[in-house]
């Protein structure tokens, strides 16, 4: 996974040089126009909602968001203040955090254990088992909902509606991909490092905690972002397993209830949606490099 990145950089530089030489200014106008139109099309929906989330309810109902561009003095953060103070969005934000943090930490660690075993321990059936794990990647999680729901119910573990239900479920749903990604990365680490550690008397636990984990930080970072976004943005799993306990519902379910109920709060929907986007967007912009690398690392061999 690291190799392609090293290879890509000089090639990209060459291409930049080639770009300047080959294209005359005028000939590139259609390219710029096409790109700019596409970017506008991609941005308009989000910009529209953002502007509407800053406008008073009466304005939102009576005129389009574009009219506000000429009257920026009408915009304010009142809707955001209202949503955070009065609706269930505030507690739901905390719930989302309570759900997302363990549902990210558990699968990454459990997958790291398994990936280390798959990469650096020999045992019969290793490759077959790994292929089975990767094969589980495409079991639709919808297939699992009903039996798991019964398992969580009073006849099973009797933990229905608690945070534990979603932690466990998200861990399992995220594991196949996590094991796949980490096994590929850990398998690419230099063999000599682990061999000399073993000769010096380091146990596998020491090698794992002191060598494999720190050396795998790029892959782990990508995985953390993936799993974080997946869990934070999830609606289905939370809806099914937490639906019975309203006090534990995350942001996605709370906002989706606002949308479908059409009762109170519709005018604050935009603000609520942007509050739910704040953390994923911060994570995305902060760790964009790892995110892109994480996606491409697993599927494109350089």
């Amino acid at each position: 996974m690291t190799a392609p990145i090293g290879v890509v950089a000089p090639v990209a530089q060459q291409q930049v040089v080639a770009k300047r030489e080959r294209n005359s200014r005028l000939g590139r106008l259609p390219i710029h126009l096409t790109i700019i139109i596409l970017l506008l099309v991609w941005m308009i929906p989000t910009i529209g909602l953002f502007i509407n989330s800053l406008r008073p309810t009466a304005d939102v109902n009576n005129s389009g968001w574009w009219t506000a561009i000429l009257h920026p003095e009408q915009l304010s953060f009142d809707n955001y203040a209202h949503v955070l103070a009065e609706s269930s969005i505030g507690p739901a934000f905390i719930n989302s955090l309570f759900i997302t943090i363990p549902a990210t930490v558990i699968p990454v660690l459990v997958a790291a254990f398994a990936a280390y075993a798959f990469a650096w321990m020999t045992f019969p059936g290793r490759n077959v088992l790994f292929v089975i794990v990767v094969g589980l990647l495409v079991v639709p999680l919808q297939t699992t909902l009903i039996p798991i729901l019964q398992l969580y119910g009073p006849k099973g573990f009797n933990i229905a509606g608690t945070f534990l239900t979603v932690w466990l479920a998200h861990t399992a749903y995220g594991l196949p991909f996590a094991i796949f990604l980490l096994r590929n990365f850990m398998g690419g680490l230099p063999r000599e490092v682990f061999e000399s550690a073993a000769i010096d008397g380091a146990s596998p636990v020491t090698s794992f905690l002191r060598l494999a984990l720190p050396m795998s930080v790029p892959a782990i970072a990508a995985l953390v972002i993936f799993q974080f976004l997946f869990v934070w943005n999830d609606l289905l799993v939370a809806l099914v397993y937490l639906g019975s306990s309203p006090q534990n519902l995350p942001l996605t379910v709370t906002i989706s209830n606002l949308v479908t109920s059409l009762g109170g709060g519709w005018e604050f929907l935009g603000a609520a949606a942007f509050i739910s986007m704040a953390l994923p967007l911060a994570v995305f912009f902060g760790l964009q490099r790892y995110f892109v690398r994480g996606i491409t690392g697993g599927s494109v061999k350089g």
Binding site: P102, I106, G135, A169, V259, F285
Partner: protein, 325 residues
């Protein structure tokens, strides 16, 4: 103590401590065991948590769902293929199947097509990074937030009133409309609109992967073709496109699976009304609205069976990748 504070402590400290504790404990367990047995036993202790999770939450339920799908509502009696007969005769589930086919075809074409087009175009300009970030951004937000965003795009006010929805305002400029988007049942138009929302989110994903593959194509090769007199279209058609094909296949597989599993957008934007139902959403409806676990399971099994060929392809691809490692 406040229960939420206790939860917070468990969340931040307890969970990682338990997991790291487990892996340190394995070495304590293995210590008294003779050397050779220890080496054979150790990998299984490291794999144990992962295998437990997979067995309990993926393998067991898949088998359970298959059994359920042959049972009655309460799960007390086997009723043969009745649930499947219902699936393939009821207009609502057949509609879901038809819509899913449309999802697979159209979403794949839109996302892979636009993804490739944007990747190739932005490769030629200096603001490539910014442009890619803008296209990629919708993927980081939830489908629930995306559906709120698009609600304002599709908003409809009665004719004669001010149109506050973006699309109706735009068509209004040309003297058309207003159209009640998402309520037009002809030609699966509503489903197509939902697919457009999903394509808006997933094009960035395709673009990023295709762009990475594009950077891997040697600049000398393209330069040589240009020196030999090939125009930009020929370079794309004869060199870039064939070299991108394996990557396009990978991306398309991912999108096909995403399209088959589509749920959130439909659930939030239309609730499956106006002829927009899809399999995942039909299943949830059978389960919670109608309380029929048998029929819901049958829908899930059909969904699984449609994904199996894609899964087989994925595994073959992985094995091929291992072979060249």
């Amino acid at each position: 103590m406040d229960p939420r504070l206790i939860t917070a402590i468990i969340v931040v400290v307890g969970v990682p401590a338990v997991l790291i504790g487990y892996i340190i404990l394995t070495e304590q367990i293995l210590r008294p065991i003779p050397d050779r047995r220890r080496v054979t036993l150790r990998p299984w202790l490291w794999l144990l948590p992962a295998l437990l999770f997979l067995a309990v939450f993926l393998i067991y339920p898949t088998i359970g769902t298959i059994i359920h799908s042959f049972q009655n509502t309460a799960g007390t009696k086997f009723i043969g293929l009745d649930n499947y007969v219902y699936f393939f005769t009821s207009p609502s589930t057949l509609g879901a199947l038809k819509n899913n086919v449309l999802w697979v075809i159209l979403l794949t074409l839109l996302t892979v097509g636009f993804g490739m087009m944007i990747a190739v175009l932005v490769d030629r300009v200096r603001y490539e990074t910014v442009a890619k970030a803008i296209i990629f951004l919708p993927l980081a937000i939830s489908m629930v937030a995306a559906s709120v965003i698009w609600r304002f795009m599709f908003l409809y006010n009665a004719p004669g009133e001010t149109q506050t929805g973006t699309l109706n305002a735009i068509v209004g400029l040309f003297g058309l409309g207003p159209f009640p988007w998402l309520q037009i049942q002809d030609f699966s138009f509503n489903t197509i609109l939902l697919i457009v929302v999903m394509a808006w989110m997933w094009t960035g994903f395709c673009m990023v992967i295709i762009s990475a593959a594009l950077k891997g194509i040697s600049a000398e090769l393209l330069e040589a073709a240009r020196v030999d007199g090939a125009n930009e279209w020929q370079v794309f058609r004869r060199i870039i496109f064939p070299l991108l094909l394996p990557t396009l296949a990978v991306v398309a597989t991912t999108i096909v699976i995403t399209a088959l599993k589509a749920f959130d957008i439909v659930y939030v934007m239309t609730g499956g009304n106006f002829d927009t139902q899809v399999m995942a959403q039909s299943m949830i409806q059978e389960m919670f609205t109608n309380g029929n676990f048998g029929r819901a399971s049958a829908v899930a099994v059909v969904l699984l069976i449609t994904i199996v060929p894609v899964m087989a392809l994925n595994i073959r691809r992985f094995q091929a990748q291992e072979a060249i490692r």
